[in-house]
Point group: C3
Chain length 132, copies 3
Amino acid sequence: MNKITINTSKVEEAIDITYKVQEIVRDSGVRSGFCIVFTLHTTCGLTITENADPDVKRDLLLGLGKISPDRTEYRHFEGNSPAHIKSSLLGVSLLVLIEDNRLVLGRWQGIYFVEFDGPRAGREVVVKVVAT
Amino acid sequence: MNKITINTSKVEEAIDITYKVQEIVRDSGVRSGFCIVFTLHTTCGLTITENADPDVKRDLLLGLGKISPDRTEYRHFEGNSPAHIKSSLLGVSLLVLIEDNRLVLGRWQGIYFVEFDGPRAGREVVVKVVAT
Amino acid sequence: MNKITINTSKVEEAIDITYKVQEIVRDSGVRSGFCIVFTLHTTCGLTITENADPDVKRDLLLGLGKISPDRTEYRHFEGNSPAHIKSSLLGVSLLVLIEDNRLVLGRWQGIYFVEFDGPRAGREVVVKVVAT
């Protein structure tokens, strides 16, 4: 089990971690299998989305902010219920296949860690590579 | 493959099943691997969210109700399209890593079964533990 | 690793691919395990939802359209940010258990490929069957 540590610098941001996951896959030497990517927190998430135009991740954060805005009815004392809900909407784990020691991703797909309640130091993402 | 059976008592509720999944992992004797958690229905879901303040799950249900409200345009004869959509938004499966015969979860993370169309008797969650 | 190729004919549609995945599982000969289903694009998704009343998938598309509508604030030059966001909400992968060489699905569950930015030729879904 490998760990990626991320320090976020904004309230919300989507950070491309594809190359870090690919590095772990490469170092594992696994030719064929899959990898599990999992983040250990409840106010961030993981998603696979377009890696080309940076406006896609900007629009994703903007859109999720409209989908899960702050609401006066929320009671959670930390005031970050919108972030918890966004985390549940994206999910905290991803599964990516491996062939020829490389992640099987479409041409435009990147793996993103998405912060919804930053900035935070020491966000952790664990990665397990499984050979099949 | 193990099964957890859940009887829900409200229209909507989020039920912590972490200890039940951990029990299955413990009984499996698997030291290192992962487990797959999957629910066999289309109007409930599974999510990992905060296990400390109970207001987090209350706010989650409230927020999802705003995100996927009932709409006059819906045609599904059972009238529970908002529940089907919430199920698709959360998803019906989870993946959690195992190390030292324990679920690898962050300090605040719990595994929740989320009912969107209850109360129902006999909701089923299957759990498979895989050694690696 | 097997591939399902899908040609979509509408801007948005949900296509049942359960029998195609089941066919791959059958041909694999795997009695017990799980399969990973993954789509290689960023404006479509995968979900498990009701396979009986076709109005459920109609309502799903309608509901997601309300949840992630087009917004004047979006900047992505292709104009399909709502589709990217829907893709992130559903996710691009699924995990289904296998027992007795069959997918472990509830009575009403089907596996759906969901197009959000069609029509498109050659949408790809990769399927990996893993024995345990």
